[in-house]
Subunit: 341 residues, 6 copies
C-alpha cells in the first residue's frame, strides 16, 4: 500500500501537513490523519464521501501545515508530528469491503504508535475505526466518548448488516468497548425505540440526552462523563458526529435533528476532552458537503479536528513543562505573553 491519495478531487492533505505512506511510514508520527470517504451506510442523505476533502481544506488561512490555537497557545500541526495518509480506498457500494479496508488502515496507524484521526464518511466507520484502536490497546481498555444526535445502536437484525445507525452496538457486542464505558452526549429526537434503549441500559451505557444536558448543565454532564471514562480504562476514543450540533450551524449532514448543541459548546467540549483525557483516537464524521452552505459545516469539521489536536498538544506540553491552561486568564496574559492588565 502506497500513499493513499485522495478518493475525490486533487490529492491534498489536511491543511498542508506532510503526506505519509502507510507502507513506509516515518517512525515519529504522533498523529496520522486518514480519510474514509464512504457514505454507503447512510440511511438518508448521502454526501459524506466528500467529507474528508471538505474537512481537509475548509480554512481561509494558508495551507502551510501549521495552525497555532489562539486559545491554547499551541500549534498542534508543528508541535505534534502530524501526517496525512490520504484516503482509505472505500467503495460506497460495498460496505463490507469498505469496513475491512478502513479497519486495516486504522490498525496500521495505531500500530505505529500514532493517534489515528479519521475523517468520515458516514458513521458506519466508527465500527472499524474504534475496533482497530481497541485491537491495538486491548479490547475493553479504551472508553468511548461519543458526541451525536443519535445513539447509533440500531439492531443488526433490522435491514442491512452494517450502516451508520448501528456501529455502536457492534462495538459493544464485539467487546471492543465496554458498555459501561460508552458515553454519549447530545442525543435527541425520535430514535431509537424502547427495545434498543433497554439493550443500551443493559449494557450500562450512559447516554446524555439533550433534556438532561439542558436541565443539569453541559459542563456538569461532561465532568461526570469524563470521570466515568477514566475509571479503569487506559484511554479514550473520541467520536464526533457533526450532527450533534444544531442543523442551523451544521446543515451539511445526512440526518439533521433540530435542537442540538451550539458549535461553541461542541468545540469547547472537544477541547476539554482532548486536554483532560488521554485520547487515543479521533473520528469526525457525517459532514455531507452537498447539503452544506458557504462551507460552514466543513469549517466546523475542520475546527473539531484542530481543537482535538490542540487539546492533545497542550496536554502534552503541560505534562512536559508542568504548566496548566486556564481559560479565565486573559488571552494576552496566557503563556508569558506579558499582557499587563
Amino acid at each position: 500500500m502506497h500513499h493513499l491519495g485522495s478518493a475525490f478531487g486533487p490529492d491534498i492533505t489536511f491543511l498542508g501537513v506532510p503526506r505519509l505512506n502507510l507502507d513506509d511510514p516515518p517512525a515519529d508520527a504522533d498523529v496520522i490523519i486518514l480519510g474514509a470517504p464512504f457514505d454507503g451506510g447512510t440511511s438518508h442523505r448521502p454526501g459524506a464521501r466528500f467529507g474528508p476533502a471538505a474537512i481537509r481544506q475548509a480554512c481561509y488561512l494558508p495551507h502551510n501545515g501549521a495552525r497555532r490555537s489562539l486559545a491554547l497557545g499551541v500549534d498542534p500541526l508543528t508541535e505534534l508530528k502530524v501526517y496525512d495518509a490520504g484516503d482509505v480506498p472505500c467503495y460506497s457500494g460495498d460496505i463490507e469491503q469498505s469496513i475491512r479496508t478502513v479497519e486495516g488502515a486504522v490498525r496500521m496507524t495505531a500500530g505505529l504508535g500514532a493517534i489515528p484521526v479519521v475523517l468520515g464518511g458516514d458513521h458506519t466507520i466508527a465500527l472499524p475505526d474504534m475496533r482497530a484502536v481497541a485491537r491495538h490497546h486491548g479490547f475493553g481498555r479504551i472508553s468511548m466518548l461519543h458526541f451525536d444526535a443519535h445513539a447509533d445502536t440500531g439492531e443488526v437484525e433490522d435491514g442491512p448488516l452494517y450502516g451508520h445507525g448501528k456501529p455502536m452496538r457492534q462495538l459493544i457486542e464485539s467487546g471492543a468497548v465496554r458498555g459501561d464505558r460508552f458515553l454519549q452526549m447530545g442525543l435527541r429526537g425520535y430514535w431509537p425505540g424502547p427495545e434498543t434503549l433497554r439493550w443500551m441500559a443493559d449494557q450500562g451505557m450512559r447516554s446524555y440526552e439533550m433534556s438532561e444536558i439542558t436541565a443539569r448543565g453541559f459542563d456538569t454532564c461532561l465532568t461526570e462523563a469524563f470521570a466515568t471514562a477514566m475509571d479503569d480504562c487506559d484511554g479514550v476514543y473520541l467520536s464526533v458526529d457533526v450532527d450533534v450540533v444544531d442543523p442551523g450551524q451544521a446543515p451539511g449532514t445526512g440526518t439533521p435533528e433540530p435542537g442540538g448543541l451550539t458549535s461553541r459548546q461542541l468545540l469547547d467540549a472537544v477541547r476539554r476532552a482532548a486536554y483532560e483525557l488521554p485520547v487515543v483516537g479521533v473520528e469526525v464524521v457525517e459532514v455531507a458537503p452537498p447539503y452544506d452552505h458557504a462551507d460552514i459545516t466543513a469549517y466546523l469539521g475542520n475546527r473539531i479536528v484542530l481543537e482535538a489536536l490542540s487539546g492533545i498538544a497542550r496536554r502534552r506540553r503541560d505534562a512536559r513543562e508542568g504548566t496548566t491552561w486556564d481559560p479565565a486568564v486573559p488571552l494576552l496574559r496566557r503563556d508569558g505573553l506579558g499582557g499587563g492588565r
Copy 2:
C-alpha cells in the same frame, strides 16, 4: 367534503399517520392535523403555502405513522389517535374565502373532540384557527400562548382587512381570547409602533420581549406566563410562528428577525407547555420552504409539532398512570429502562 388531499404535490399525511375524511370522521380522534397552505396574507416573502407539505415530510426516519420521543418516552403518533385530514382548500389570492374555509375545517375538527393541529401557511390563519377553537370551547375560555418575533396585532384600519400582521388583534377584538390571557414570547425588532403597543397594554396583554427574556431568564418567563394562562381559563391554544427562532436556525420564513430564540429553547418551551398545560389547539406557521436551506426550517417545524404532541401524550399518560417526567433523570433510567448508573 371528502378527504381534503394535498394542495401542492402528492397527497401525503404527517409522517404517514392515517388519513381522515372530515365528512365521515372516526369517532376516536385525539388529534387532527390540517394543512392551511395559504400565504396570501404575508407582507413580505411568500412561500408558506408549501409549509404544510414541508412540515409533513421533513424527517429522515421511515414515514410509518410512529415516532417515539426519546426524551419523553412516548410515541404520540400511536399512543394518541392522530389523523391527518389533508389541506383545507385555500386560495392565496382570496384571503377572505381562505379564512372562512380554514375556520370551518378547524371548527369541524374541534367539534369532533379532537385537538386541531394546523400547519401553516402564514400567520393570517391564527384568526380562523383560534376563533374556531374558541367557538367550540367558549369565547374567552381559552388562553393563547404565542411564540413569535412579531406581535401580529396590527391595526385593521391600515391596508387590507386581513393579513399575517393582525390576527391577534382580531382575536381579542372578537372576544375569542381575553387580552389578559394573551401571552407572547420572543417579540423583538422594530414593530409595532406605540399606538399599537398602547392598545396591547390596554387589553392587558403580556408580551415577553427578548430583552426581558434575556434579563430575567426564559424559564422564569415561561413559568410566569403559564400561571397567567391557567388563571380562570379552561385550556391553552399554542401558536408557534417559526420566526421566533433566530434566522440562523430558521432561515425559511417570510419576515426573519435576527436575535431570536435557539431551536433548542423553542423545542423545550413547546414541550413544557404541552406537558404542563391543557393544550386544546396548536398551529405551526410561517415555514416558507423557498427560503429554506437543507430543509432545516422544515425539520424544525416538524419537530415543533412532534414536541407538542409528545408533551400532550406524556401529560395524558402521566395523568393516567400517576407518573411524572423529570429531564434531570438520565435517559436510560427513565421509564423503567433500568439503566443502572
Copy 3:
C-alpha cells in the same frame, strides 16, 4: 463632491432615510451613514463590496426612514437626524486610493459633528474610518470597542501594505488609538501567531478570546471592557465585524470562524455599548452577500446598525428626560404604555 450615490445597483439609502450631499450638508445631522463598498483587502472570500447595498435594504418593513425599536422604545431614524451620504468611491483593485477616499469622507462626516456609521466593505476600512474619527476628536482620545473573530493586527511587513488583517495594528501604531484602550471581543480560531500576540500584549491591548468569554461570562467581560474604554477617554468607536457571530447565523462573510457569539449576544452587546457609552463612530463590516443565504447575514448587519442607533437615541433621550431603560421591565409597562401586569 456631490451626493455619492450607490456603487452597485440602484441609488438607495439606509431604510429610506434622507440623502445627504457631502458638499452641501445640512447643519443638523446627528448621524451620517456612508457606504464603503470595498473588498480588495480581503484575504479570502470577496463580496463585501456588496455589503453596503445589502445592509441598507435588508428589512421586511416599509423603507420609510423610520424604525421604532420595540425594546428601547425609540425611533432612532426619526428621533436622531440620520442621513445617508451614499457610497464613498472605492475601487477594490486600488486599496491605497480607496483608503484615502474613505478617510476623507469619514473625516468630513465627523467634521460636521455627526456620528459616522460606515457600512463595509471588508475590515481594511477600519483604518481610514477610525483614523478619521481620531483626527476629529484627537489622537488617543477615543477608545476602540472591536467585535471580531480576528484580532486584525497582522504585521505590515508581511504581504501587502494594507488589508483586512492589519488595520488594528496600523491604528495603534499611528497613535490614533491607544493600545490600552483597544478592547477586542470574540476572538477565536488559529490566528495570529505569538509575535503578533506579543506585540498586542506590549501595546496593552485587551483581547477577550471566546474561551475567556465562556469561562467568565459575556456580560462580565463587557462590563469590564466598558470600564476600560471610559477610563481617560472621551468617546468610543464601535467596530463590528459580522464574523464575530457564529457562521451558522452569519454565513455571508469572508473568513468564517466556527464557535462565535450568537446574534442575540451581539445585538445585546451593541445595544449596551451604544446605550452605556458615548459612541462617536460605528462601522459594520465583512457582510459578504455572495455567501449569504436568505439574506440572514444582511439582516443581521442591518439590525446591528439599528441597535447601535437605537442605543444612541435612547441614551440621548434618557439624558434629556432623566429616564432610564431597564430590560427586566415588561415591554408593555415600559415608557408609560400602561400595561397593568
Copy 4:
C-alpha cells in the same frame, strides 16, 4: 395618487430612469414602466411579487437611466422618454382589488399616450394590463403576441375567479382581444385539456406549440404570426411570460416547464417583434426571485424589457430617418461606425 414607490424594499426605478407621478404626469412620456408586485394568482410557486424589484435592478452597469443597445445602436432609455411610475398597490391576498388597481394604473398610462411596460407579478395581470390597453385603443383593435409555456386560457368555472392560468380566456371573452388575433408562442407540456383547446380553436386562436416551432423553424413561425397580428389590427400587445424560456436559463419562475426556447431565441424574437410591429404595450411576468440562481432569471427579465424598448426605439428612428437595421451587417460597420472590413 402620488408616485407609487416600491412595494418591497427601497424605492427604485428601472435602471435609474426618472420617476413619474401618475397624478401629475409629464406630457412627453413615450414609455411608462409600472410594477405589478402581485403573486396571489399563481397556482404553484409564489415569489413573482418580487419580480418588479428584481427586473428593475438586474444589471451590472451603472444605474444611470441610459442603456445603448449594442446590436441596435440605440439607447432606448434616452432616445425615448421612459419613466417609471413605481409599483401599483397590489395585495396578493386580494386578487380582485389588485386587478382593479392594476387596470386603473395601466389605463392612466395608456391615456397619457405612452406605452405601458408592466413588470409582473404573476400572469394574472395580463387581464388588467391588456384590457386597459384595449380600452384605450379600442376593443378588438390590438392583437396579442403571447410568449409562454402555457396557454393561460383556463376555464373560469374551475376554482377561483381569477388567476395566472386564465387571463387569456377572459381577455377574449371580454372582447378586449379578438381570438383570431391572439398569437401564442412556445406552448408545451401537459396543459390544458381538450375542452379548453377546443374553446381556443373555436376562438380562432393561433398557438405555436414547441413541436411545431421545432418542425417548422422559429423564424418561420414568427413571420407567420406577425402577419396575422397585423391583419386588420392597429397595434400589438406583447406579453412575455419568462417561463417560455427553458428552466435551465430561467429557473426563477413559478411553473417551470422543461424544453423551452433559449434566452437567445426569446431575446431575438422580442427584438424582432418590437422592431417590426407597432407595439402598444408590453408586460414581462412570472420572474420569481426566490427560485432564481445568481439572478439569471432577473437579468433575463431586465434584458427582455430592454430588447423591447430598443426595438421600439430603433423602429421609430428608422421611420424617422429612413434607415434600416440588418443583423447580418458587422457590428462595427453598423450605423456609420466606419468599421472597414
Copy 5:
C-alpha cells in the same frame, strides 16, 4: 412482497397514478413504474437515491394521475393503464443485493406483460433493468437506445465489480443485448480510453459522440440509429441518463459533462423514439436532487418519463385508429380540434 412503498419520505406514486402490489398485481397493467433508489454505484456525486421521489412529484399540476400531452394529444396516464409499484428495496451500501432486488422486480413487471419504467438511482441499475427485460423478451432480441454523456462500458476488472460506469459492458457480455444493436447518443468528454473504445468497436456498438451529432445533425443520427435498432430486433429498451443534457439544464446529476444536448432536443428524441419504435422498457437515471436547483433536473426527469409514455400511448392510438401525428400541424388543428387557420 407487498406494495413496496417509498424508500425515502412519504409513500407516493408517480403524479398520483394508482399503486400496484407486485404480489397481487392487476391483470391490465400497460406500464409499471418502479423506483430504484440506489446510488451506491456512483463514482462521484451521490444523491440519485432521491431520484425516484423527485421524479415522481416534480410537477406543478395536480397530482391526479392524469396528464394530457399538449403536443401529442394523448393522456398516457389514463389512456394506458399505468401503475406505480413503489421503490424496490435497495441499499446503497450493498450493490450486489440491490442489483438482485431490482432485477427481480423488473422481471416480475415484465412478466406481467407491462412495460417497466424504472426511475433511478444511478446508472448501475441499467444492468438489472435491461437484463430482466431481456430475460423476458429473449436475450439479443431487444436493442438498446442509450442517451448518455458517458459510454458506461468500463472494464469490470478495474475497481469494484459493479457500478454506474460499466453496466453497458455487462449487458453486452451477458448476451442480454447484441453489441451491434447498442445505440448510444450524446457521448462526450474524456472517458473512456482506447482499450474500452476498441472493445466497443469490436462489439459493433454504434456510439454517436457529440461532435458527430453536431456535424451530421441530431435528427439524421436518430433516424439512422432507429433503423439499426429495428433491424432484426423485437423491441427497444430506452435508457436515459439525464446527464446527456447539458449541465446548465440538468445540474442535478452526479457526473456532469459540459456541452450536452438541450432539454428540448432530448425530449423530442425521447418522444420520437417512443412514438416510432416498439419500446419495451424505459429507465430514467442519474437525477441527483442534492445538486439540483429549483427542481429543474427533477422536472426534466418527470417530463422524460411523460414524453416516453405519451409517445407510447400515441403510437398505440395511431395503430388502433389509423391516424398519424405530425408536429408541423398547428396545435389547434391537431386531432380534430378544429382550429381553422
Copy 6:
C-alpha cells in the same frame, strides 16, 4: 521564484499534471498552466480569484494527470508535456502590482518555448497575459481570438487605470496586437457606447455581435475570423471569457449577459480554433465560483482548457502523422478503432 503554490486552499495542479518550478523549469514543457487568482479589476461581482482553484479541479474523473479526449482521440495531458506552475502571486487590492507579476510569469513561460495557459481571475489579466506573449513572439505578430460577451475596450480615461473592462484597448494601443487582427466573438448587451465602438472600428477590429452570429451562422463567422487571424500573423492567442456562454450554462461569473452561446457552441469553437490555428497562448477567465451552482461553470472552464489542449495535441499529431480529424466520422471508426459500421 520557487514553485508558486496555490493562492487559496490546498496546493494542487490542473487535474494532477506535474508541478513546475519557474526558477528551475524543465526543458521540455509544451504547455505551462498558470493561475492568476485576481479579481480586483472586476466591475461588479467578485469571486474570480477562486477561478484557478475551481478550474483545476472541476472533474469527476481521477486527478491523474491524464485525459483522453473522446472526440479527438488524443490525451493532451500526456501527449503534450503539460506542467502547472501554480498561482502567480496576485493581490486583488493592488491591480498594478498584480499585472506586473502576471506579466512576468507569463513572459517566463513563453520564454521557455511553452504555450502559457492562464487561468483567471478576472479579464484584467488579458493585458499582461497577451502582452507577455507578444513580447516573446513580436508585437503585432500574434492575432487575438477573443470570446466574450463584452468588448473589454473601455476607455482608460474613465475610472481606474486598469480593470476587466479595458484590457483589449490597452493591448491594441500598446501595439502588442494589431487592431485588425483582433477578432471578437459573442458580443451582446448594452455596452460599450458609440465613442468606444468608433475607436474599435478605427482600429479595424472585427467584432461578431450575437445578432450577426445568429443571422449568418456561427460556423461561417468562425471560418471568416480564422482567415483574418492567419493573414500575415504568426500565431493566435485565445482569450476565453466564460461569460460568452449564456448565464444559464455559466452562472458563475461576474457580469452575466443573457442570450449567449451555448456551452456546446463554445467548446466546438475552441476545439476548432486550437485544431485549425497555431495557438501560442490561452486564457480562460471570469469563472467566479461564489455565483456558481453545482460547479457547472467550473466544469465548463475545465473543459474549455481541455478542449484547447486537445485541439493543440491533435493538430500536432496530425501534422506529425499526416492524419486528419473529421467529426462526421463515427466515434468508433475514428483513429483505427475499427468500428465496422
